[in-house]
């Protein structure tokens, strides 16, 4: 089993080879393409599990860290080259297992979901490329190799989001995703250049000489750019800007919701296991740098960079959750929830360290994949209907999808004890609570938790409960029959529901790996494998657990109140919050034993602020991007004009003058070739004399 530690590159190589072979297959070879993609992912999963077991059984107190390096290019004296390398440590091993497991299920699901698409072979080729890039990124021991995989993943996401490029919106979304993330990449790229200049290496770990090891860190944290701003902080912030782009944080989150234009399995892949997780992973991987060389940044609030990470994360968590409240597309609700949950991960990283942020990343990957695939199953069952106002009552015809989706929903909302999202989110809130510099991240996190519970309940109610409102605009609203309605809603085939069930089971199990009483996850990352169960630690956490339980209960309760109890009557009816808020106010006053006025203002604030946020998002930030684009275009146009009218016209005018002079001369000279050569010779003589004379004269 130890061979895997040095042959870790095999894991991304399998899907990469699959992508290459699929690319060479004839266009219509669906079955081989599918077999190759799924088979390579299964192989990668087996190898990943082996690697994971290796890190588990690795002896010694320090966590396992096996490096394999090779020289990629060489310049100047020996040693000045650029080396790339791979790393196997608990962080990488955990990500490998998650990416391959979730990825494999998504691949299998795709076989069912894309069954009717003409270009399935191409689709599986792109999916494999995507997975290969993510796996490569996870095991990179070099910022350069990580960046390379990061970019290849950007390419794969471009190809997949724009997979149905006949749809103008899909083509536009693909372009937007690529360009917006590329703006973030510029930060990452510049950070990389700066890091290389400071340390002379791009390897993370290199037996003491790596960029993340004490020697280099000490230099970077003592060198200052200005005042208190250290080089380490500046580089960290540039790297984090890259993560902001890739993980859809404010203000670069605009591409993520649009990325829904891709096929649903792609959304699942982008939102759960790959792409957006890459940004969080980058911060986790470069954490020693982010923390500014401080060993235990937790509690002390050390490091400006981590403060920025925590702030951006907490603001995004609430901002995106507010937007999720007002969406009616089943996938868009999930998209905004992803943005929001990524904010939590950054909040966790910024306030609690690697283990806290990464635990949420892992649990989120499972339940968000579950939710997206569940949404895919719903969309498939409803014949590509995505508007939740036209759904309703689906639990009767899609029981399995309903049950699994409910598990995912409860995990996302943070329902206590049996759902993984509860444990991971609670750890983040716990860390934020204990964070020194400010209480705001915790407050924002708590508000976000409430909103999450609320909008997920709203979505559940609209999709699975109440009357079915599909078909002819809500006319069959009273259809309570046990059989499928005229629109032909049906449960999805086995190939799609089995992945759902497996993901749901994982969602139920995973949370137990990181409870306060038995923090196995944190210990595993730091290299301690024997973790005793300590109930007293649970005691300290109980007050916060109770608080977050109450928050979630409030969110779900309010959501159910507004949408579940009084289901929407028809697809065209206005949203409860939208038009009938006085009645909600009344309903609330009847049901809750809390300050009615406060609740009402929360609801009112919800509505107002979610609208404002959406408006902000659409007009201001979207507008800013548009304006920047327009400005660039205007500038480009002006430059072109300058180019054509001034620079070029100068040339043309110069030629005109020459021609004019030439005509003048030719009139005098009447075109004698010998005379002309004579002039030329004389000019050369004069020029040479001038040059020599000028030189002699000095």
């Amino acid at each position: 089993m130890t061979w895997i530690a040095t042959q870790i590159w095999l894991i991304p190589m399998l899907p990469l080879l699959a992508a290459g072979v699929i690319g060479l297959l004839p266009r219509r070879s669906d079955q081989p393409a599918m077999a190759l993609a799924v088979g390579s992912m299964a192989g990668a999963l087996v190898l990943s599990v082996l690697a994971f077991l290796f890190t588990l059984t690795h002896g010694g107190e320090e966590p396992a860290r096996i490096l394999t390096q090779f020289e990629w290019l060489r310049v100047g004296t020996a040693g000045a080259g650029v080396r790339l390398g791979f790393i196997l440590d608990p962080l990488a091993a955990m990500m490998l297992v998650m990416v391959t497991f979730v990825g494999l299920l998504i691949f299998v699901f795709s076989a069912g979901y894309m069954a009717e698409d003409d270009n399935r072979a191409r689709f599986f080729g792109f999916l494999s490329l995507f997975a290969a890039a993510m796996l490569g990124l996870v095991i990179s021991n070099s910022l350069l190799l990580l960046f390379a995989c990061w970019e290849v993943m950007g390419l794969a996401s471009y190809l997949l989001i724009g997979f149905w490029f006949e749809k103008p919106s899909a083509a536009a979304a693909a372009k937007k995703a690529f360009i917006v993330t590329r703006i973030g990449d510029l930060g990452l790229f510049l950070g990389m250049l700066w890091l290389y200049r400071e340390t002379g290496t791009l390897l993370f770990y290199d037996g003491g000489a790596g960029a993340l090891e004490p020697g280099a860190l000490a230099a970077m944290t003592t060198n200052r750019v200005t005042g208190t701003l250290t080089v380490a902080t500046c580089i960290s912030l540039l790297l984090f800007f890259g993560a902001v782009g890739k993980s859809g944080q404010v203000p670069l989150h605009v591409w993520l919701p649009d990325a829904m234009e891709g096929p649903t399995p792609v959304s699942a892949l982008i939102h759960a296991a790959t792409m957006v997780a890459a940004g969080v992973f980058l911060v986790a991987r470069t954490f020693p740098l982010m923390a500014g060389g401080v060993d235990v940044p937790v509690q002390s609030g050390a490091g400006l960079a981590l403060g920025v990470v925590a702030t951006v994360g907490s603001v995004t968590a609430v901002f995106a959750a507010l937007m999720a409240v007002a969406q009616t597309d089943i996938k868009r609700v999930l998209a905004y929830s992803t943005v929001s949950q990524l904010g939590y991960m950054f909040l966790g990283l910024g306030t609690g360290g690697v283990a806290v942020g990464m635990f949420h990343l892992i649990t989120h990957a499972f339940f968000k994949a579950l939710l997206f695939l569940g949404a895919g199953s719903v969309i498939h069952g409803c014949h590509h209907e995505q508007d939740i106002r036209r759904m309703g009552g689906l639990r009767r015809w899609m029981p399995l999808t309903f049950a699994t989706y409910a598990i995912g929903m409860m995990a996302l909302a943070g329902v206590p004890l049996f759902f993984s999202g509860f444990w991971s989110k609670d750890e983040i809130l716990h860390a934020a609570w204990g964070w020194g510099p400010s209480r705001w991240p915790f407050i924002l996190g708590a508000v976000g938790a409430f909103l999450t519970a609320f909008y997920m309940t709203r979505q559940m109610a609209e999709v699975f409960f109440g009357p079915h409102r599909g078909g002819d605009g809500g006319g069959d609203g009273d259809d309570h029959a046990a059989h499928a309605p005229a629109t032909g809603v049906h449960e999805s085939p086995r190939v799609m529901t089995v992945p759902l069930v497996l993901l749901a089971v994982s969602t139920l199990i995973l949370g137990w790996l990181g409870t306060p009483a038995w923090p196995w996850f944190e210990s595993y990352l730091s290299g301690h494998r024997h973790v005793p169960v300590a109930w007293d630690r649970l005691g300290h956490a109980i007050p916060l657990m109770v608080a977050s339980t109450v928050i979630v209960a409030l969110g779900i309760g309010l959501g159910w109140m507004l949408y579940g109890k009084r289901p929407r009557a028809s697809a065209t009816a206005a949203d409860v919050m939208e038009t009938r808020w006085p009645r909600i106010f009344a309903v609330l006053r009847d049901r809750f034993y809390v300050d009615e006025f406060y609740e009402a203002t929360v609801v009112r604030a919800h509505r107002a602020s979610s609208r404002v946020d959406r408006w902000l998002d659409r007009l201001v930030i979207g507008g800013l991007v548009l304006a920047a684009g327009a400005l660039a275009r205007a500038l480009a146009f002006a430059v072109r004009m300058v180019d054509e009218l001034l620079v070029n016209a100068g040339f043309d005018a110069g030629c005109g003058v020459m021609r004019w002079i030439g005509q003048g001369f030719s009139r005098i000279q009447n075109g004698g070739a010998q005379r002309y050569l004579g002039w030329l010779g004389m000019a050369m003589v004069v020029l040479t004399i001038l040059v020599i004379w000028g030189w002699e004269g000095r």
Binding site: L73, C149, G162, F178, F189, L190, R197, V647
Partner: protein, 502 residues
């Protein structure tokens, strides 16, 4: 040892034989041309492989030429030459494959083509300044005829503009060259001796900008770049492939060999100014490319933008930057050649238009799937995606630039983002727009019936260029070991000392 010199002789012989062939048999002419180009490329690759990674200058031929002036015929090669010789060989073969459909006066076309190639081979092996200049001119003259006779849009204008710009540059180089001969007082044009002659500072102060600008005009230095887009647009496919692929490299090569190698003091003084012009060129040309409506103009301006990276790396004048610049010469030669091949041959010869507004109505992704796939991959290579040669080249240029001029590196990075925008724009508009999405494109709705599907020659040419870019991108040491060794040769000693290289 002699294999490298064969590149020159084979190309010259091919040019002569093709020229006397007569106009009636175009197919014989093109087969002959392809064979000589392939033999030339084979000689370049075999010769380079034979030399391994030479740590010094390897003299191939050295005979007196004009003894009275101390002029020699001196063919030699170091690692830097090897990289560019290999590029020339590959570009030459690909260019002929992409002009397989030339019927009109084919023998003259290919004769001029091979003449140009011979001149380029000659420049890259010249270590006598006078001989360098002679080959440089030899490469420029056929350009004019290739564009003026076989070109398309405003060909006389484009050809004349290119010729005038080139000759103005040449005149500047010529003046500088004569002055250098006189000032050095060696009675020789031997470039290695000139490099160690430590030319007086007062001379370098004015001669460096004179000769560098003279050469850099051909490399598309802003604001002397406008010949490039019009020239590219006017040129026939093969000529624009060569123009972007190798001829622009001649200018950059001149800046390296004459500017940096012979006048390092001047380079140190003028480095920031050159870097500024290079960066302006990168961003400016990318912005202009963003609003062009003509497919080939977009590629033409992108070429200017990417050549800016070469000049930026040279301006940085540190090992990383110069090595990156040389690698970027190779990379851009391959990628730009491919882009022009797709636009000029695969698309234009079948649609007879390059207007994006018309092309977007044609749904080329369905009509020409091979061209669409190749152009997509070429776009990725062009925008510097890891795995292709452009990434590792531009990365090194920016690493080098960051060490010398951090602001320039920042601006160059912005240029990379803009290049993503214009590349995706042209990719989507030219290939990915489905029918029915745009208003009827001026009545043109179908492809030229006579042009037929993509031919084997186009496929081989495209895969050759794409494979080269990919191979270098994945394993850059293929070329970097040569470049590295080349920069260690005695010729660069003065540059290394002046710039304080480790």
């Amino acid at each position: 040892m002699m294999a490298l010199t064969l590149t020159l002789w084979i190309s010259l012989a091919g040019a002569v034989v093709t020229a006397v062939l007569g106009r009636e048999r175009p197919s014989v002419a093109r087969v002959l041309a392809l064979v000589s180009a392939m033999l030339g490329a084979g000689a370049a690759i075999f010769g380079a492989w034979q030399l391994g990674t030479p740590t010094g200058l390897v003299t191939l031929v050295r005979v007196p030429w004009i003894p009275a002036l101390g002029i020699e015929f001196h063919l030699a090669a170091d690692g830097v030459s090897l990289v560019l010789l290999v590029l020339t060989g590959i570009a030459a073969v690909a260019g002929i494959l992409f002009s397989w459909n030339v019927e009109d006066r084919a023998n003259e076309f290919f004769a001029l083509y091979l003449m140009l190639i011979a001149g380029v081979y000659g420049v890259f092996m010249s270590f006598d300044l006078f001989q360098f200049f002679a080959f440089y001119e030899l490469a420029i003259v056929p350009k004019y005829f290739l564009i003026a006779i076989w070109g398309s849009t405003r060909r006389e204008y484009g050809a004349m503009k290119l010729a005038l710009y080139s000759f103005i540059g040449s005149a500047m180089v010529l003046v500088g060259m004569i002055a250098m001969y006189v000032v050095a007082g060696l009675g020789s044009f031997d470039m290695v001796r000139l490099s160690s002659a430590s030319l007086p500072n007062g001379f370098q102060v004015w001669a460096f900008p004179l000769m560098t600008v003279g050469f850099a005009i051909l490399a598309g230095l802003w604001p002397f770049h406008t010949w490039a887009p019009t020239g590219h647009v006017a040129a026939p496919t093969a000529a624009s492939m060569l123009l972007a692929g190798v001829v622009m490299k001649l200018g950059a090569y001149g800046v390296l060999r004459v500017g940096l190698m012979l006048m390092p003091d001047g380079a140190k003084l003028w480095g920031p100014a050159l870097a500024a012009l290079a960066v302006i060129g990168i961003v400016y040309a990318a912005l202009v490319a963003l609003v062009q409506q003509d497919f080939k103009f977009v590629i033409g301006y992108s070429s200017v933008s990417h050549m800016g990276f070469v000049l930026l790396g040279l301006a940085a004048a540190n090992p990383r930057g110069v090595a990156g610049a040389i690698l970027q010469m190779f990379s851009h030669g391959v990628i730009a050649g491919l882009l022009f091949g797709v636009v000029g041959r695969m698309v234009y010869d079948r649609t007879h238009t390059r207007e994006l507004t018309i092309l977007e109505g044609l749904s080329l992704a369905r009509a020409l799937p091979f061209a669409a796939v190749i152009f997509t991959l070429a776009s990725m290579a062009s925008m510097g995606l890891p795995g292709f040669s452009g990434f590792v080249a531009e990365l090194q240029v920016l690493l080098g630039a960051w060490q010398s001029f951090p602001v320039a590196a920042l601006a160059g990075g912005v240029g990379v983002v803009i290049s993503v925008a214009f590349t995706l724009r042209v990719l989507q508009r030219a290939f990915l727009v489905a029918p029915g999405m745009v208003a009827d494109g001026g009545g043109l709705t179908a492809l030229d019936e006579h042009a037929g599907p993509i031919t084997w020659a186009e496929k081989v040419g495209a895969l050759l260029l794409l494979g080269t870019s990919l191979a270098v991108g994945v394993y850059p040491r293929l070329l970097m070991d040569w470049i590295d060794a080349g920069l260690q040769t005695p010729g660069f000693e003065a540059l290394r000392t002046t710039m304080g290289w480790p």
